[in-house]
Every structure is written in C-alpha cells, then in structure tokens.
Amino acid sequence: MAVSKPVAVGPIEAPEGKKLSGAQILCECLLKEGVEVIFGIPGGATLPLYHALYEYPIRHILVRHEQGAAHAADGYARATGRPGVCFATSGPGATNLTSGIANACLDSSPVVAITGQVATPLIGKDAFQEVDITGITQPITKHNYLVTRVEDLAPVVKEAFYLATTGRPGPVLIDIPRDVQTAKTNFGYPKGIRLPGYKPTLLGHQRQIRQAAALIGEAERPVILAGHGVIISGAFADLRELAEKGDIPVITTLLGISSFPESHRLSFGIPHTICSVYANTAVNESDLLIAIGMRFDDRATGKTSHFAPKARVIHIDIDPAEIGKNVRVDVPIVGDVKNVLMSLNKEIALAKHTEWVEQINRWREQFPLTIDTETDVLLPQYVVQQIYGVTEGKATIVTDVGQNQMWAAQYYCYDRPTVSSPLGGLGTMGFSLPAAMGAKVGRPDELIWAIAGDGGFQMNIQELATVVQDKIPVKVAILNNGYLGMIRQWQQLFFERRYLGSPLSGPDFARVAEAYGAAGFRVTTKEEVRPTLIKAMEYDGPAIVDFWVAREENVYPMIPPGAAAIEMIHGPQK
C-alpha cells in the first residue's frame, strides 16, 4: 500500500536570507508556524508546492475530496487549539473546499486554507481551472489573500496565521498563483505584522465588569449560558469558579458542550430548538442571563422577541459585532472570555441560590430526558448511552448533523473539557468522519468516536480510504435509520407526513468499511451493542459500526419553526 509521504528528512536549516522559490518559502513559513500536518489533494496549480513540500518534515495526508481536507483541518484545530491547514488546487479543488471553510467560519475555527491559482498573466482570462476563489470565499473567511508577488508571500502567511488564531478565530485563505510558487526571492520570516485595523480587545472593560458583578449580586434567578468561546479561550476553571462562587446554574450551547462538567450539580443541559425542556424553562424564568462566549444563535433562542423575557442580559464575547446583534444586552463586555472571567470572579461575592437551583431540578424531574429501558427495540439514544458507558466518558465525540447530533448531545455525559466537537453554525452533513480524522491526527492518544446518521455518513464516506491509508484509527457509530431522520421528523410533525426525499437506502456499511480495509460491524439488537463497541475499540485501526436503530424515533423536546423557546413540543410520555 502506498504511503502518503516519505519519512521526514531531518531538520531543515532555516536558510534565511537565501533565495528560495515561493513554494519553498511557503514551506519554510509553515515550519515557522509549527505546522506538522496538511490535509490536501494536489493538482496542476499546486504541483510546485508539492515538489517543495517533499523535502520538508511536514506530514501530508491525502484526502479523497477537498471538503474532507477542510473539515479535517477544522477537526484538527478544534481538538488541538492549533490552526489546521489544508491544500487544494485551483478551480474545482478550491471550490470543493468551500463548505468546509464556511463551516469553520461559522464555528470560529482557525483553519488556514492554501489554494493554487493559475499563473498571474492568466488571472481573469477564464483560464483552465481558474476560479475567483478569493471572491467566492470572501464572505466565508475571516480574511483572504491573493498573493501576486513572491515578495509578499512570507508576510501574508505570517499575517494569515495571526488572523486565524487571534481574536475571534476563523478561517483564512491564501491563493497562490503557480508562477508565484516558482518565482524566487530572498527569504526571511517577518518578525512582526502591521495591521492597523486589527486590534482584538482581550481585556474586558473594568467598569463594565463591575457593573456585571453588581447585576450578579442582585440577581435571584441567574443563569449562565456558556458557549464555544469558553472552550476556545480555555476558561474551563474560570467558568467553574464563577458558577460555584455565585451558585449559578450553567446551561451550555451546542458548541459550548464540554465547557462545563455535565455531572456537576449546577449543570443543566442545552437550550436549543431540540433539547432539554428544563434548560429552556430556566432561561425563560431567569432574571439574569450571563452569556459567555456565545452568539445567541437562532437555534438556541427560538423567536428572539420571546427569548428570556424577564431577564437582564450580560454578554461577554471577544467579537464586538456579536453584542447586541440578536438580542438586547444590558451589560456588554468585549474581551477574551478567560481574561474577563478572571476579573469578574474577583468582583463577585459568594452567593446561594438554593431555591432557584432546586426549582430547575424540579423541572428536570418533571421533564426528564429518559428512554424506554424495557423495550427490545434498538433505540438510537440507547446506543449513545452505551458509547458513553463503554468509553467511560473518556472519548472525544465528533458528531454529524441531524437527529444523531441531538441524541449525541443529550445522552452522552460530557465531563472533561473539549470532549465534544459538534458542528454548529453551518450544520454540514458529512462533517463527522473527516473532522474525527483531523482530531485523531492532532491528538493521537485520544479515543475519538464519530457519531453520524446514515445520510451524513454517505456524504464523505470516501474518507474511509484516507483513514485506512494513513492509519488513522477513528471509530464511527452510524445511527442508521434508513431516513434523512431529522428531515423525516419535521415532515412528520409539520408537513403532514409527506415523506418525499427523506427515505434513504444505503449500502451495507460494514461491508463497505471492510472493502475499504477498515473493520466493519453491524448491530441490530440491544444485546450486541456493548460487545460490538468493545470489539470496535479493541480493533487496531479504523472501525465502523452500523447500528440499525428504530426507524421512526424522534428527538424531543423540540421548538417548532418560528416559535418561542417556551412553546416546545414534548415527546410522548413513556
């Protein structure tokens, strides 16, 4: 079997001041930025890059579709906190990246995408495989560059990594024409950058912080809404300190899962169109929301005019544009979550909200997330619970989108920091396998389980070849219901059960996995779940388990489209 990249040829002397080609300069810059792996597919417009990369100690992982490269870079970035890098050639290679780039953009993930472009004299002439990728990706990147002179390359790469990883992180794309890759110039990696228009605010404003502390002191029914920003800034301990000191219940957004230990007595689930009743009820009754590193996404709020009607709002975020964008805010604090929480924790007093916490606990008892344990039917929720049981909560879970994602959020108990990599803003089907692959490459010692639906899994199924060739032992659980399940659920509840376009046939996933060279299992009964999960984990390589789950199981509770969070629909009482 082919190996994707020869063994690294020892440390490269940094030949600063020597004339290098654009391609070599790029590789030198990537080394300086500490890049250890690139996900990509070569093409005519990137061949000089590959020619140069051959000599550098950077691993190249050949994916099977560029969308997979972008998701893998994204998964790598989320798992490690370091920027993920992907390569694609001009034209179709570049356009194939776009779903992955948009996904990274909406989820603030530091991805650096590098594309080849036709030679500068051909730009604008509709040359073979020419697309205006900087134009195409302008609204889905934090910033992007078309490098037209080799002299600009090193400063651009330096800036690109800086922008991708600082402030509110996000994807940055660098488009490099073929002739810029081959042109030569003196190389020296710039020490600093000059970006007069870019100065992220890191420290919160002291006056605002004191105001926030005063509101917290007065509140009787406070709730913390913790988002992705807590994870990005690594503020786990600070969030916990705030919650415990102020005795404040914590609810996490979907992307905020694992920012706060879910077994904690103050942890109360996720407010979402589809999720826990008690979390939504708590938000609805609260008199103070402390929103931390989250952006009041419509999936989290339902109809904003009816969102948290009784509450004053403190909003902490590093991106000033998020504050006041979706809901009105009483105390805005712009800054890095960790810094702000450190200051805020000094200002607040020890408090007790015993009655309020008990009240939410009563709601939790009233509307529990339970599953039917008596039934012989193989329920998807049961599968997720068992994954939790077998992994003892020690796996990183990477989900796809659809019902599978909601069950993975509801029925796995996330207790450690960053043990969940769900996708949020874009909800791109096909995310889980390539993102799990990227996460595994970044954290080889971590056990990674992808949880996908049979629909989403088929959207990037080709990456099975990548995980086999590059020996990336991810584990995948397919919750196979023979439907685009979430679509079917909506059709059932809001569109008169007209199941057009949602019934889905698929291949025998276990045999497909084996055909690719991975281990494949099928599970159709409850008894098989646990032993098969164990087998899949013991297998020394990528393993896929195809769970034939109850076909028409629904996710409850859910908020109907356009409704307020409090109008959610409950499942049949079991």
């Binding site: 900087t134 134009g135 302008q138 609204p139 934090k142 910033h143 992007n144 078309l146 922008l163 970006l195 007069p196 228009g197 870019y198 100065k199 605010t201 404003h205 991106d319 000033p320 544009a321 504050i323 006041g324 964008k325 712009v334």
Partner: protein, 169 residues
C-alpha cells in the same frame, strides 16, 4: 434617520469589495457611498449614507470593523460638518430656453462646463438638498444624462472625525 458614516481603511486589494458586499449581505440600506484617497498614503476614506436607527448604525460600524483593513469608523451625523456632493447634469436646451437655464445655474452658483447646440452640461456642488432642488428645476427642460457622486463629509474645526464608534471598547 439618515446617518453619515465615515470609515478609514487601508488601501489594500478587495477592501472596497468587502465593504460593499457586507452592506448587501447584512441588508443595510445604503443611500450613497463614496471612496477616495486621504492625506495619508495608502489610507482610503469611505463615506456612507445609511438609513436606519442608531442600533443599525452601530451594527454597520461593528461589521465594518470586522474587515481587517478597516482602521476607524465614525458617525459624523451629529457633528458640525461640511457636507458636499457634486453632480454633472446634461440639460436639453433650445435657443428659447438656454438663457433661462443659465440664469437658474447662476442662482445656484453652479457652473456650465460644456455647451453644445442642443444641450448644456451643468456642474453643481453642495449639500444634497441644493443638488436635489437644482435637479428638480432643470427637469422641466429635459435632463438627458446625470451623474451624482454621493455625499462626502468632513468635520469642521480642528477635530478629525470626532465621534469614533468604539467597536473596540
């Protein structure tokens, strides 16, 4: 209410494109937009007239700040400013109407910059209301072609654009 927002930006490729597509994507109601060089090399100045509430203007500013090359955004609506627009108007004339048109142009302290047998080109500078009222007077003679630059604005006195919108607080 109409707001005049002034943004200073690094003159780098794509920055105007970014600003314009941001207005389109976020659905901001832009009435006019002008861009040009400033006294500082490599810094451009954009003047946008945007219709909306104070909240909307705040969002415009914050979203503009997200563009890496945008250095400073100010809302100069409440400041004492000099506001100007320039228009070129090609008016149909006959021997009978030419004198009349020239008289109107005179009253508005506008200029005739081109004369042809059946038309004149009028150049006018001033606040939009002045341009609007001249245009409406000339309309009855027949406007064959017109171009307006949109508003540019500068704060009076020593201060530079005074009310910077602090997206970076």
């Amino acid at each position: 209410m109409k707001h005049t927002v002034v943004a200073l930006m690094e003159d780098r490729p794509g920055v105007l494109n970014r600003a314009v597509s941001l207005f389109r994507r976020r659905g901001f109601n832009i009435e006019s937009l002008t861009v040009g060089h400033t006294e500082v090399p490599r810094v451009s100045r954009m003047t946008v007239v945007v219709e909306g509430t104070a909240n909307i203007v705040e969002q415009v500013a914050k979203q503009l700040y997200k563009i890496v090359d945008v250095i400073k955004v100010s809302d100069v609506t409440q400041d004492p400013t000099v506001v100007r627009e320039l228009a070129l108007i090609k008016v149909s004339t006959t021997t009978a109407t030419r004198a009349e048109v020239m008289q109107i142009v005179d009253i508005y302290r506008a200029k005739i910059v081109d004369v042809a047998p059946d038309s004149l080109i009028v150049e006018v500078t001033g606040p939009e209301e002045k341009v609007d009222s001249l245009v409406s007077l000339l309309r009855r003679y027949g406007i064959k072609e017109m171009v307006r630059t949109g508003r540019v604005a500068m704060v009076r006195g020593a201060a530079k654009a005074a009310t910077t919108i602090e997206a970076k607080e």
